[in-house]
Symmetry: C2
Subunit: 455 residues, 2 copies
Amino acid sequence: MEPLEYLKEQESDSLEQLKEFLRIPSVSAQSKYKEDMQKCAQWVADYLQDMDIKSEVCETGGHPLVYGEYRTSDDAPTVLIYGHYDVQPPDPLDLWKTSPFDPIEEDGYLIARGATDDKGQVFAHMKGVEAYLKTTGSIPVNVKFLIEGEEEAVSNNLDNFIKNNKEKLSADIVVVSDSAQYGIDMPAINYGLRGIAFVEVRVVGPDRDLHSGSYGGAIANPVNILCNLIGRLQDENGRITIDGFYDNVYTSTEWEKEQFAKLPFDESEYLASTGSHRLHGEKGFSTLERTATRPTLDVNGITGGYQGEGAKTIIPSWASAKITMRLVPDMTPEEICDKAEAYLQKICPDYVTLEVTKYGGCNPVQVPTDSAWLDAASCAVESVFKVKPFFTKEGGSIPIVETFKTVLGLDTLLIGFGQHDDNAHSPNERFLIKDFHRGWRTSVALFQELSKVKG
Amino acid sequence: MEPLEYLKEQESDSLEQLKEFLRIPSVSAQSKYKEDMQKCAQWVADYLQDMDIKSEVCETGGHPLVYGEYRTSDDAPTVLIYGHYDVQPPDPLDLWKTSPFDPIEEDGYLIARGATDDKGQVFAHMKGVEAYLKTTGSIPVNVKFLIEGEEEAVSNNLDNFIKNNKEKLSADIVVVSDSAQYGIDMPAINYGLRGIAFVEVRVVGPDRDLHSGSYGGAIANPVNILCNLIGRLQDENGRITIDGFYDNVYTSTEWEKEQFAKLPFDESEYLASTGSHRLHGEKGFSTLERTATRPTLDVNGITGGYQGEGAKTIIPSWASAKITMRLVPDMTPEEICDKAEAYLQKICPDYVTLEVTKYGGCNPVQVPTDSAWLDAASCAVESVFKVKPFFTKEGGSIPIVETFKTVLGLDTLLIGFGQHDDNAHSPNERFLIKDFHRGWRTSVALFQELSKVKG
């Protein structure tokens, strides 16, 4: 039997298996689910072990992770498959059509917490491996599974685990399926992520709030000054004015620009989805380029003075803002935090005190677009979806992908099987059953294609 | 006996009478003191009645006010004495040296809630009138007392009372003693107050907070834009850039500039009192001029996006700021609110929505500096304090003074007997007993001097 035939046969069984996986309420953020987390990790380890993948539940200091390994041959490339078994909290419960941990099928979707993020997607790869082992008795590549339990809880334990297990995790390429396609029947491979740099800025004036009648005009107002500083961080063309900000900005290649030009984009639909009435961004770039290939600066929050009802006539003692900047290759959070601080200190008047706290962030990620891995992934996707995948970059950050790069020296193929409207992190999370099936078939094809890259 | 002799004889009795007044906990802001408010109004009315001043407790819809009137002759000028018998809440109680409503004498001070604000000061005028009636049997001027009970509770009932009783309250000049001297042994007469205009500004972008990774660069950030707008409201010289903002700004006369130049000012002391490390304000003006004779613009509070611990990487849906502008003659709050709105709308980019709520405010006040009333008051103060008073303007606003001007057409002499460090509105409120005595003697002298102005 061929692996793909096996999957065909397994269609309904595998859906039941996924439901079993989804029924374990593995909510990493809430301590009341601690035992369920352990149970879920064991379920994954057992599943892998059952198909003769050497697996273990590894303690991390937080929730455990599952490591599994299948060695085919020294000549075959090694693929590290990363995913997570933990899920977001299910609240608010009253907005769910079903109990979040009691999966139902409806209109071609499987509805449950974790369906798309990430149990459904990581399970597709587990089934892909299974298809080989249950038919040919071997996988075309060496496979390592790294399935963690703290992705939704923003823990740093995984970073330490990777740092402490470089040898164990050594591989040739990482595969992550924990994101979305470009649209329905529009598979995509992501070859880049933006990084992020975070600073908190605080302007301090008088040592207490002052009466704006008595002191107004003589004592500088920290809120006015903070606004002035922030207002001067961008020019009228949407360019960031911090000295040297663009020094290390990667310029998209012609190939990349072509890929962006190919992406369907409906402006009115996009605006409707955000509730904005007009687009605005850096001059000279399309919306998709702006959100993925260009750095940005956003104030995420600002606070100062009196914020209650009515008026309170004060000169506030201080004002502060949280500012994050999205980074593109080859910017680094350290460089950008330093440059932001230097520029703000330069333009800040000396009659107030400016405090800049630099929190660092994470590096942007760029997967080489001329790599054979990307070609292999593209072939695998096309063989299943019958269309070429779109090549995209993502505006957000996935810190673990950067860790794979910096600690293990590995590029990552981001092949999402989900959809943007899958309600990840929201009530009625769902996964198209069709995408689940195409996901595991892509996994099967991917191992085949990746095996050709080396050896 | 002369009025001043009477006062000399009354020194200790009058202090006991003031203590009796202070023992009534007339806290207007807290409903549990409602009966005490009534009792206190009655105490004032009875006191006036006892010296043959026709008086009444008038209902206002809120706490009652006391009106009293003594008619000397049709030829004599009529002086309307305004004050208030209500006091600030006494909290925090644990910071008081004494029970707030059990007055004690210490180091030449009388310590109690209301001592300086305003029972002690208004009582000085009551004793001034008494000194005449108990000795000469008549006062050199016609006197009307308007002693309200809602000054500390920001009520509008007094405005209505004045509008509905124009005839009754008709006078030639208003006298208010509810503020401070310029310093110890530095009496002052205030000939101007700034007005105020209040707007709330809200910038609205997307209909919800957006992920700054996915949308950053394509959707304008309302916080960044609000900051930009606010940052552009002032230039590097501390001038406000709103179109036409200075159109109606009164230019100080040479006499006024001279008065400001005479005022002692210690910059390091001033800075120490605010906890600021440098002064900043409009170029070309001294600190005292900036805080009294020039208009200002202060953000009293700003809010938008995430303000908790750590980072939340969003493009906030909206941001808002409370802005008050201090006005000088002949600006009006309506004019300035309109101009602020027009300017903000002009500079606001069209990819966000700007909402400006105009709350109006109150007009600035200017007492004619060439008026005989001011001269008379100056003579009276000098005769008691043995130094010429400073002529000052105040940066804050006293809306009732503006009402006297607009509704009754009357100028107000602001002759404060208190000190800036009297702890008005704070624990251990106090009044220098020496200032209490000089206050009533000034009142006696003032009636004499004012009587000469007309007739």
